[in-house]
Amino acid sequence: MKPRRLALILLLGLALALPAGPVRAEETSLSAKEILDKIDDLYRGQASHGRMSMAITTAHWTRTLELEFWSQGKDKSLIRILAPTKEKGTATLRVGSDLWNYLPKVKRVIKLPSSMMSASWMGSHFTNNDLVKESRMAEDYTFEVSFQGRRRGEDLIEVTCLPKPEAAVVWGKVLVEVRLSDYQPLLLTYFDEVMKPARTMTFAEYKTLGGRLLPARMTIVPADKPEEKTVVEYQTIEFEPELAPEVFSLRNLQR
């Protein structure tokens, strides 16, 4: 599993099917694989619809986007920009491994070529690839609980994920920190092959949205440019909404 993928899973409104309340002491022994499997399982077969804001801070500018999103299964998603006005109506549709962008100003749809996959999405610290790449968490990594205890005033479990030799990921290692009490994610750190931190993702603002407890705020910070960041805040999420298949069509993209 690519950690950014994980973040996006959350971004697209999938919750962890974890108990909605504090975990009882007897449930401490979820294995590493089970912890992450739960996330994977929850993602499967899910659909979602919601709104969020994305605040991007770079060395040269700062922007906040208001977004509405829909997702279905593993391979369909639609994100539409609601604000600022200049870009209202701009949308990105993903079906399978294809990505399309709709540009309301010129009323055209463009298909993104594979060479743009590593380019950033709307200037944020997410890339187009993050939106497209299929989750292969269980297949791509081997997991192991590497720490359980107190850190930064929180009781947490740390899972070390090492990519399997054939997995198509460029990272050397991913560290996943989840809260001991309810397995809510706290921090994701991923490292390049020489084990230098490349990016961190922090989670906060745990609240109940759409009937699930999840971190409503997620922050990505690139390790080489620590003054930059992208902060995503969920406002509303609806799980298992009634979504007609036409939602993920090019026609709908251009609405």
């Binding site: 060479s115 996959m117 590593s118 460029v170």
Partner: protein, 409 residues
């Protein structure tokens, strides 16, 4: 009789003869040497560059050249190879899969050219395998391993064994990604190659691009001698008549290289022409002078009753001898020098310390000459012919001497 007279006559004026012969010989030797070195350089360049691509002859889909795309391929390559390898003059055949993609590492992403090759054959002939600066070349049993250029390795901060993800659109337009690792790093000196080429085993790229089995982008041929190109192409066209294939000689696949060689050769010819002119002028001068100086001698001969025609024939014969000796010496010296340059090569690195690249392709700084019979025959023939023709001009004047004037003093 005239032959012996003429022969003795030229050796009577040793100095004059020597000067003339040396002029002819010097010019010819230089011409031969430089032509041989230039041809050698071109050959070297061609050999090096064609081995980086498909070879002297490339067989591909007819629509490929105009708009390269991964789905424009050659099917049934197994059978095709068997057919063409049987042709005479063919040294080896090879398969290539060519496509574009993005190479991604932790440090970034770069658009690259992907080349799928057969490691067994390629290891022997490819300039990449000969220019490795780290690691090893691809081996037949390799799968998800690649060799990349030094500049690309630097840009993506890659080392041996490091991970690299290749992203591309396959034949059906689907986005595909595969992980591979760096097995070797090469440095050919050419920025295009070192910064953008990724070479991988054929089977691995075939899988990445989703190509059906027994197909490839190009089938290439390496010939024993590049001059047999046209004959081989004709033979292949005969064999594959009706099949939807384009059979191209390397100048069509690499027009820039062909253009560069054409231009360089052209400028060389002009320089040789100027050189020849200077030499010819010298020869003409010398013969004219010698004939004029011998006016008295001719006057005596004529006075003694020798026919004018005979005197003329003698002079011409002398010129022919001079031409033969001069050309002989010139061809010998030029030939030996060229042969030496062919066997031991000339090290140009003193003149070009930063390395030698021609038209973007790095070549070895050791230039080897290429001496061929046509070079010797043509240059020798040309100079000899010019010598004799030039000699004819003063001859006419020589005989029209006023005997009385000459004999008087």
């Amino acid at each position: 009789m005239i032959l012996r007279l003429a022969w003795r006559s030229i050796w009577r004026q040793k100095r004059r003869t020597l000067i003339t012969v040396v002029s002819i010989g010097f010019g010819l030797a230089l011409a031969v040497f430089f032509i041989a070195v230039a041809e050698g350089a071109y050959s070297q360049l061609i050999e090096q560059v064609v081995r980086l691509q498909a070879g002297h002859v490339t067989i591909e889909n007819p629509a490929y050249r105009d708009a390269p795309a991964i789905d424009l391929r050659v099917d049934g390559v197994g059978r095709l190879r068997a057919e063409i390898e049987g042709l005479p003059k063919v040294e080896a055949s090879k398969l290539l899969i060519l496509g574009q993609g993005v190479a991604r590492s932790g440090a970034g992403a770069v658009g690259v050219s992907l080349m799928g090759v057969e490691p067994a054959g390629e290891a022997r002939t490819s300039p990449l395998s000969r220019n490795l600066v780290a690691g090893q070349y691809l081996a037949p049993e390799d799968d998800a391993l690649v060799v990349i250029g030094r500049e690309l390795a630097e840009r993506l901060k890659l080392d041996l064994g490091r991970k690299l993800v290749l992203t591309t659109n396959d034949v059906s337009g689907q986005l595909k990604e595969e992980l591979c690792r760096v097995k070797g790093v090469f440095a050919t000196g050419s920025p295009e190659v070192d910064g953008y080429l990724v070479q991988a085993p054929l089977s691995f790229l075939g899988r990445l691009f989703g190509l059906p089995p027994d197909s490839a982008t190009q089938v290439g041929l390496i010939l024993k001698d590049s001059r047999d190109q046209d004959r081989v192409i004709k033979a292949i066209n005969g064999l594959t008549k009706g099949r939807d294939l384009a059979v191209l000689p390397w100048p069509e696949v690499m027009p820039e290289l062909a253009a560069y060689i054409r231009m360089d050769r052209g400028s060389n010819w002009i320089m040789q022409a100027i050189l020849l002119f200077l030499i010819m002028f010298t020869i003409f001068n010398t013969i004219l002078m010698s004939v004029l100086e011998r006016s008295r001698e001719f006057a005596v001969l004529l006075a003694l009753g020798t026919a004018a025609g005979q005197v003329r024939r003698q002079i011409i014969t002398e010129t022919i001898y001079l031409g033969l000796i001069g050309c002989g010496a010139g061809l010998l010296v030029g030939g030996l020098a060229s042969a030496a340059a062919q066997i031991w090569g000339i090290n140009m690195s003193a003149l070009m310390p930063e390395g030698v690249t021609i038209s973007g392709f790095a070549v070895s700084p050791i230039f080897r000459a290429k001496l061929t019979w046509p070079i010797l025959a043509w240059s020798g023939g040309l100079v000899f012919g010019a010598t004799v023709l030039l000699g004819l001009i003063p001859t006419r004047r020589a005989v029209r001497v006023s005997m009385v004037d000459q004999l008087r003093g």
